[in-house]
C-alpha cells in the first residue's frame, strides 16, 4: 500500500522547514498544504487539537505534531535511508541535547531582535549572539554538528538562517561580523540541495516580518 504523507505547514516557519528538509533527505513524496495561521483550517484544528499549530505531519491519516518529534518519527519510519540521528546512543543523546538547546534558546531570543525596541532589543541581540557563539563552540572544527555528515542538529538549526536577514536588518547587527565560523557552517548546509530548496527567500521573509511588526506595533 502506498504511503500517504501530508504536511500542514506555513511557508516561513522555521519549524516547518525542518520537516521539509527531513522529508527531502529521505526522498519521501508528500502533499504540502499551506496553512493560513490567522484563519486556521478545520483540518489543522482536527489534526492538532492540543496546540493548533504547524507543522503537522499526517501519515496514513495519523497526525504527528511538534517539529522535533516529527523529524525523529520520519527518521524512525524511513530508517533505511539518510539517517538523521546518530546510531550511537551517547551521540544521539548529544544530538537531542543540542536540538533541545536550539528549541529553548533560538526562538524567543531571535524574535525579540525584531519584535522589540530600545533596551529590550539590545539585550536580545546580545543574548542571540551568545547563543550562536555557544552553538559555534559545540560545532568546533567539525563541518557539521553531526560530524562529517549533515544531521539532526544541523537540520534543526539551519531553517533559522532565512530569518537572519530580518534579525540583522531590524536589529542592526551582522551575524557574520560576530560569528564568522557560524556563517561558514551555513554555507556548507546551503550547498545541500535539500536545504537550499527548503529555505524560502530571505527577502520574502523580511517582507513578512515587516507586516508582523506592523501588526504588533513595534515602532
Amino acid at each position: 500500500m502506498a504511503d500517504e504523507v501530508i504536511l500542514l505547514d506555513f511557508w516561513a516557519s522555521m519549524f516547518g522547514i525542518r520537516v521539509r528538509i527531513a522529508l527531502a533527505e529521505k526522498g519521501i513524496k508528500y502533499e504540502y498544504k499551506e496553512q493560513d495561521l490567522f484563519n486556521k483550517s478545520p483540518l489543522l484544528l482536527q489534526m492538532n487539537p492540543v496546540h493548533k499549530k504547524i507543522p503537522v505531519l499526517i501519515h496514513n491519516g495519523k497526525s504527528v505534531c511538534e517539529s522535533s518529534i516529527i523529524v525523529q518519527y520520519i527518521d524512525e519510519v524511513w530508517k533505511d535511508k539518510a539517517p538523521l540521528l546518530p546510531y550511537d546512543p551517547y551521540q544521539r543523546a548529544q544530538a537531542r541535547f543540542w536540538a533541545d538547546f536550539i528549541d529553548k534558546k533560538m526562538y524567543d531570543t531571535s524574535r525579540k531582535t525584531w519584535a522589540t525596541k530600545g533596551e529590550e532589543q539590545e539585550a536580545a541581540k546580545k543574548e542571540f549572539i551568545e547563543v550562536l557563539k555557544t552553538l559555534g563552540g559545540e560545532l568546533g572544527d567539525k563541518p557539521f554538528f553531526g560530524g562529517d555528515n549533515f544531521g539532526y542538529v544541523d537540520l534543526c538549526l539551519i531553517p533559522y538562517y532565512c530569518w537572519f536577514y530580518s534579525y540583522e536588518t531590524f536589529g542592526k547587527f551582522s551575524v557574520e561580523a560576530e560569528c564568522p565560523k557560524f556563517i561558514a557552517w551555513v554555507t556548507r548546509c546551503l550547498q545541500r540541495e535539500t536545504v537550499a530548496k527548503a529555505l524560502p527567500d530571505e527577502k520574502k521573509v523580511f517582507e513578512f516580518v515587516s507586516v508582523l511588526r506592523e501588526k504588533i506595533r513595534v515602532e
Binding site: V50, H59, I69, Q72, Y90, A93, D100
Partner: protein
C-alpha cells in the same frame, strides 16, 4: 569493563527524580550525589557547562544533561523494561505528551503557584485547561504509557506528589477528583507503583521549601504599586 553510572541530582528536584526512577526501574546499578545548588560541585559545573543544572547522568565518565534526554538515553542503553514502545507512531505520541508536560503543564502549574491575585486566578484557569488535555489522554488507559509506566508517565510523574505540595502552599485545589477523575486515579496509581513509592522526597520538607520559594512573589505582589 565495569559500568560506572553516576547521577547528579538534588533531594527535591522533580527532574532529577525522573532520572532516578528510570535507573531504578531498569535495575541499573548507580551512585547518586545530591548537589547543593548554592554551592555547585566542580563535577557538576564541568559535566553540564551549558546550563550548570541537575540532573546530569555520567556514564563511564561521559555526561548527559536534560532529564528527558537522559530518559531516552537510559532507555536506549539498558534495554530491559523498555519505556518507549517499538512502534514509531506510539513513540511519537509518548514524546508528544512528555513535551506537553514540560512546555505546558509545568509552566501553567508553576504560574498558578507563584502568581498572586487576579493573575493567579487567570493562571489557575489556564492550568485547568491544560490539565483537561491530560484527562482526555488517559481515557481507556491505566498509565499514559498504556498498561505500564512509560516515558510520558515519568515525565509527568512530578504531578503525583508536587501538586499536593503546591495546593497546600497556595490553599487552592488544582486537581479536583470530580473534575479530573482519571488524572486523580493515575496520580494515585503512579505514586504507589513499585520503585516510585519508595522515592518520594519528604512531604513536609517540600512544603517548607516551596513555601520559601513562593515568599518573594507574595512579598512583591504586596508592595504598593
Amino acid at each position: 569493563m565495569a559500568e560506572e553510572v553516576k547521577l547528579l541530582k538534588t533531594w527535591s528536584s522533580p527532574f532529577g527524580l525522573r532520572a532516578f526512577w528510570i535507573l531504578k526501574l531498569k535495575g541499573v546499578q548507580f551512585d547518586f550525589i545530591d548537589e547543593d545548588l548554592s554551592n555547585k560541585s566542580p563535577l557538576l559545573l564541568q559535566s553540564n557547562p551549558v546550563y550548570k543544572k541537575v540532573p546530569v547522568l555520567i556514564h563511564n565518565g561521559k555526561p548527559i544533561s536534560e532529564s528527558l534526554v537522559i530518559l531516552e538515553y537510559v532507555d536506549e542503553t539498558w534495554k530491559q523494561n523498555p519505556l518507549l514502545p517499538e512502534d514509531p507512531y506510539e513513540r511519537a505520541r509518548a514524546r508528544f505528551w512528555a513535551k506537553f508536560g514540560e512546555d505546558k503543564v509545568l509552566v501553567s502549574i508553576w504560574n498558578a503557584f507563584i502568581k498572586q491575585g487576579k493573575e493567579q486566578e487567570e493562571a489557575i484557569g489556564l492550568a485547568i485547561e491544560t490539565l483537561k488535555f491530560l484527562e482526555e489522554e488517559l481515557k481507556g488507559k491505566r498509565f499514559f504509557g498504556g498498561e505500564k509506566i512509560g516515558l510520558a508517565d515519568l515525565a509527568l510523574g512530578w504531578l503525583a506528589n508536587l501538586i499536593g505540595v503546591f495546593e497546600e502552599v497556595i490553599g487552592v485545589k488544582l486537581i479536583e477528583k470530580e473534575r479530573f477523575p482519571l488524572l486523580s486515579a493515575w496520580m494515585q496509581e503512579f505514586a504507589e507503583a513499585p520503585v516510585i513509592k519508595e522515592s518520594w522526597p519528604p512531604h513536609e520538607k517540600l512544603v517548607t521549601k516551596f513555601r520559601a520559594i513562593r515568599e518573594p512573589y507574595v512579598a512583591a505582589a504586596a508592595q504598593p504599586k
